[in-house]
């Protein structure tokens, strides 16, 4: 076909397409699908001339010759965008069906909706709190049993000899538990790996990550996090809590579970991306609030991560969900702790309260805090760089599930070994405190009545270690212990993050930071003659923890509030803020935040706050996909099926055009005469949401292919359009602020152009297909795709999220990412 020649030589096409490209694709509605099907077979032909980063350019051109004719394959790297991610439809598709339904709703109807939103938010908070409570109690119990067993064993063998057996026992116990967690993650739900914060961040950014908010994910996540914390890995349970909250929100707001095949027939109005995303942000907030006992921090977390589509009412609702979540957690924990009704329990992680003199800080300490922030930034950047290389290695080489499970087990075993060795060789003995702050004191070679102080740091759940670093008396740890602990834990945590287990990075970061922070505090007290003025090292532990966490995750606003709330102490607001700012500035100089790195490595088309700084040179014409596959308003079923099953039309948006020539009239007439027996409702789409069957699952017979479909009802008659000379930052703003999924690019001439979204094709088909297949077909078409109707308009291109996310500012200026199938 003619198209192929066009694709083979880019240089010649550049001139032609100006004329041909603008005219043909649009008006050749029926031709178009076939045209665009070609790339799947001959797609590689068009690779010449692709722009890529400077580094990749050489690699590609050298490969080009040898690989011509086959799809090119390159090792995974951070400069790719995956095809599997779709945008969420945050912007409602205002087609006829939608408008009809909205117009039917009375004022009271909207009031009721508002009330049910509040109910849903309350439920989200409640369930999230319950889950947090469950995780907390189970982890505490199981970890208690494990440490008790190991402790008894160690005590026994300290006496009679054979401590290496205890070491083995500890390592085997750890790996066995972690193996369980890794198996459920690696084999059943890989998306549940990690902290889940990157995924939720993407979701709130408007990207549909497959399977991220399913019930199965939640179950695996909860089970996985229990296993990994109990298994003694250097992880925390807070990040997964945020993910769990999000899943709960997505599930509750839909009033049904597709996994369990139960439909409660409630909240049907919320079965759409717009509403679901609002609730997911509430769920994430509730998760943060349960994890840290920080309701305001939770709200700000959602705000910071998904801020583009916020309004006051939503914020208020989210705050409600957060509060309910904290309340629920407190309530149930109070019952668990046999003090029913006492609601002052903090969240999952309990940093304890700073009281009395220890909260005082002075003006002359501010520069010290800032210096600590800088250290935190440096260490955080180091952490991120190491983890980045490790993750790349993992994606490239450790991608088979059984390998991932093995790796997790090895990490668990090594963690136990390192901890044991540290404890074994530590000479730091401290007297047992009167109120038994140490949960599992290990004596080993210490004098009776004393315990090994290295063991309080290692032989404990990470969360408790943080607490003891914050609050133990000055003199509880000696500097050598802390130094060694920081060093080993830094590498362990860095190694652990990114394994195929559900686990968060918050607590390990806090722990590393608290350890070196406390070290700083102790050293400060020793180098100054009047040591007492530096108050207690717990304060520096807190500052260090904030600095380290800020240096790794680079959150600012929400993190400050979370730290302030989790310690219940507003006094440290300013120091923490300064520290986080410094850590972020210093860290950003070297490398991005950990979550951003992982988002990039997942090849997710993530849109940042603003377009890349130097992108004003780019216009919509350069970023858009073109030519666009267009459909007619009355279209052959066969054409539609072909278009949809074509893998190269991955954006799922199709302009619908009306032909002006006379022959079209005939088609319309024809269509009308076979009008639908049953009219399609918006409800039909809702019922299928969010898992629309792929078009491949629908069998369309040859006869049916010849039928005609009327797209009028389904198309969005008023799409957003931009002229092709619009600059990239402007397009970017539209996407970011409106949550668009597609943006139609029209040509410069002021002819009328209308883009229409696809919904309308369906009604005609009902006549011809059996009802079932019909419904599937429709939902597939409508919900996974957009059709726009363009009358008399020249659609020249289509901009999707991936087109925008491809540009980013790299070391060598503006760089372009590549699309890849993952």
């Amino acid at each position: 076909m003619a198209n192929i020649t066009k694709k083979v030589s880019w240089s010649s096409r550049a001139d032609e397409s100006g004329a041909a490209g603008e005219g043909t694709p649009l008006l050749n509605g029926s031709e178009q699908p076939r045209h665009s099907r070609q790339p799947s077979e001959g797609g590689s032909l068009c690779q010449i001339g692709r722009l890529s980063t400077v580094d990749l350019e050489e690699e590609i051109t050298s490969d080009e010759e040898s690989q011509r004719g086959r799809p090119k394959e390159i090792p995974h790297n951070e400069k790719l965008l995956s095809l599997k991610y779709e945008s969420l439809d945050y912007d409602n598709i205002e087609n006829q069906l939608f408008l009809e339904e909205e117009r039917k709703m009375s004022y009271m109807g909207f009031r009721c909706l508002e009330i049910s939103r509040w109910v849903v938010c309350g439920l989200i908070g409640f369930l999230t709190g319950l889950i947090a409570c469950f995780i907390d109690i189970v982890v505490e119990q199981l970890a208690g049993i494990k440490y008790q067993v190991v402790k008894e064993n160690i005590e026994k063998f300290t006496e009679v000899g054979g401590l290496s057996i205890s070491l083995l026992l500890w390592a085997v116990l750890n790996s066995a538990i972690v193996m369980l967690g890794a198996i459920i993650v690696a084999f059943f739900e890989p998306i549940a790996a990690g902290s889940g914060i990157p995924q939720i961040k993407c979701y709130l950014n408007g990207i549909k990550i497959p399977r991220v908010v399913r019930l199965k994910t939640l179950v695996v996540k909860v089970g996985g996090v229990i296993c990994s914390v109990v298994g003694g890995l250097a992880v925390g349970k807070e990040g997964p809590m945020i993910h769990s909250g999000a899943v709960v929100a997505a599930g509750v707001s839909q009033g049904r579970s597709t996994s369990l095949k139960r439909d409660f027939k409630i909240f049907e109005y919320f079965r759409r991306d717009t509403e679901k995303r609002d609730f997911v942000s509430a769920g994430a907030a509730a998760g943060v609030s349960a994890a840290f006992g920080a309701p305001v921090g939770g709200v700000l977390f959602s705000l910071e991560e998904g801020a583009s589509f916020w309004n006051q009412m939503l914020t208020w609702r989210i705050f409600f969900a957060s509060m309910i979540s904290t309340f629920t957690l407190n309530f149930f924990l109070s019952i668990y702790h046999n003090k029913p009704g006492e609601l002052s329990n903090p969240g999952l992680i309990n940093f304890g309260r700073f009281q009395g003199d220890s909260v005082a800080y002075n003006l002359y300490e501010i520069p010290l805090f800032i210096a600590m922030g800088a250290i935190g930034g440096l260490l955080g950047a180091l952490f991120n760089v190491l983890n980045y290389w490790l993750t790349i290695f993992r994606i490239r080489y450790v991608h088979r599930p059984c390998l991932q499970v093995m790796e997790a087990m090895l990490v668990a075993a090594v963690t136990a070994t390192v901890s044991f060795t540290m404890i074994y060789f530590s000479n730091d003995c401290q007297p047992l405190g009167p109120e038994h702050t140490e949960e599992y004191p290990l004596q080993l070679f210490c004098a009776d009545g004393e315990y090994n102080s290295m063991a309080t740091a290692f032989f404990n759940t990470p969360e408790r270690s943080v607490r003891s670093l914050f609050h133990n008396q000055p003199g509880t740890y000696n500097p050598l212990t802390l130094g060694l602990f920081t060093l080993t834990y830094f590498f362990l945590a860095c190694w652990t993050y990114g394994l195929a287990v559900s686990a968060g990075v918050f607590i390990p970061s806090l722990l590393i930071g608290a350890a070196w922070g406390r070290l700083c505090g102790i050293l400060l007290a020793t180098i100054t003659p009047d040591g007492s003025i530096w108050a207690d090292p717990g304060k520096y532990a807190l500052i260090g923890a904030a600095a380290q966490l800020g240096g790794i995750v680079r959150m600012t606003l929400s993190l400050t509030v979370i730290m302030v709330e989790a310690t219940g102490n507003v006094t440290y607001g300013l120091p923490i803020m300064l520290v986080l700012m410094t850590a972020k500035i210093v860290g950003d100089y070297f490398v991005e935040g950990l979550y951003d790195i992982h988002i990039k490595l997942q090849s997710v088309p993530f849109l940042h706050w603003e377009a890349p700084a130097t992108s004003h040179w780019l216009t919509a014409r350069e970023v858009m996909s073109s030519p666009v596959t267009c459909l007619n308003r009355i279209e052959k079923v066969g054409t539609i099926v072909d278009t949809l099953s074509n893998t190269s039309t991955n954006h799922n948006g199709f302009p619908v055009v009306v032909k002006v020539s006379g022959s079209d009239e005939v088609f319309v007439e024809l269509a009308r005469s076979r009008l639908t027996q049953r009219k399609l409702q918006l409800k039909d789409f809702r019922d299928a949401y969010p898992r629309f069957p792929p078009i491949q699952s629908i069998h369309v017979s040859q006869d049916e292919r010849e039928c005609m479909m009327d797209l009028t009802e389904f198309m969005n008659a008023t799409p957003y359009t931009v002229p092709q000379e619009t600059s990239l930052p402007r397009v970017f703003k539209l996407f970011r602020a409106l949550g668009l999924r597609h943006l139609v690019v029209v040509d410069d001439e002021n002819r009328v152009r209308v883009c229409v979204s696809v919904y309308s094709c369906m009604s005609l088909m009902i006549t011809f297909l059996s009802l079932n297949a019909m419904m599937m077909m429709m939902t597939a078409v409508v919900l996974t795709s957009h059709f726009w109707f363009v009358t008399l308009l020249q659609v020249v291109g289509l901009v999707t999220r991936k087109d925008l996310a491809r540009y980013h500012l790299g070391k060598h200026g503006l760089e372009e990412l590549q699309l890849a199938q993952t």
Binding site: S17, E73, S164, V414, A447, E622, A820
Partner: protein
């Protein structure tokens, strides 16, 4: 008695306690001091005076006190109670100080506390004594200082934190059986220590190990039952210190080699794992897809050219 006298009496008690604690239980006669205080009335304003706000009032206190109406004075019954309370207080504190090191406060002084408690209960009860006056109001809450209450409270805190309740039988007169048994076991251990301490310490470690271990086990059992009090804790602490620090009987670190061997084996595993997966695992490749584009791309080079 006038309120003034009352005041000075309280001050006297305070000073008395102070003296007891600071000067190795030198005991002033109560009346002695009271006399001296009366002679030096400047002392009592000094005490009352401390917040500046009250200064004018206290300056004129003498004249005010003289004119106090009869019913504001405390009656004899109450002052008697107060006196007895003071004596018992002194006795108890005396006992405490003597039992401070090694700590024997529970075994020796519980009876004292019990009588003090009785007295205080008497004072603070609702009962109206002779003269139709409730001593609770006049003694405990008629002034800002609430000295009697504070004094009692201090000792009560001391009592609570010592945990003596756990090892003294219900009437606060004698130790519980558990305590006695512990003390017996303790005695066994210490006598064993005494027996061997002049010879080789390894000898001691070997021979006293069993009794020491029994003691330790008993202690941890009691710890679980929460029948510990400061006496027992302190005694145990001392014994442990002797055992570990003086006689050096803690476990030696002697298995360094196996531990190092096992851990280096463990640390070696990941290296093998990563190497083998690097060498044998198939590297994951990504298929590149070429997006449709309007024209030949405005290359980024051009952009950068334009910029520069």
């Amino acid at each position: 008695m006038s309120l003034h006298k009352n005041c000075s009496f309280l001050v006297l008690i305070a000073i008395n306690i102070y003296a007891l604690v600071s000067s190795d239980a030198v005991n002033f006669g109560a009346s002695d001091t009271a006399d001296r205080l009366r002679q030096t009335p400047s002392l009592s304003p000094a005490v009352v005076n401390s917040p500046v706000v009250f200064k004018p009032v206290s300056d004129s206190s003498l004249s005010l006190l003289a004119s106090l109406p009869e019913d504001l004075e405390i009656n004899d019954y109450c002052s008697d109670l107060l006196l007895i309370f003071g004596q018992r207080y002194v006795a108890y504190v005396n006992c405490l100080v003597r039992a401070a090191r090694p700590v024997m406060v529970c075994q020796n002084c519980s009876a004292g506390y019990s009588s003090l408690l009785d007295m205080y209960t008497n004072i603070s009860s609702d009962q109206v004594g002779p003269g139709n006056v409730s001593c609770r109001d006049s003694l405990l809450r008629s002034d800002r200082l609430m000295l009697v209450f504070q004094l009692y409270n201090n000792l009560k805190n001391l009592w609570d934190s010592s945990g003596c309740k756990n090892c003294i039988a219900a009437g606060l007169q004698s130790p519980t059986n558990d305590t006695l048994y512990f003390m017996a076991t303790l005695h066994q251990t210490t006598s064993c220590f005494d027996k061997y301490q002049h010879g080789n310490h390894t000898e001691l470690c070997k021979n006293c190990k069993n009794t020491y271990k029994d003691l330790n086990e008993l202690y941890s059992r009691m710890e679980k039952n929460q029948t510990l009090c400061i006496d027992i804790e302190d005694a145990m602490n001392m014994t442990r210190k002797e055992w570990s620090k003086k006689f050096n009987c803690s476990f030696p670190r002697e298995e360094t080699v196996p531990v190092i061997a096992v851990s280096s084996f463990m640390l070696f595993l990941p290296i093998i794992f990563y190497l083998s997966s690097f060498l044998h695992s198939e590297q994951k490749k990504r298929k590149l897809i070429h997006p449709k584009r309007a024209k030949s791309y405005t290359s980024l080079m051009n952009i950068q050219d334009k910029q520069s």
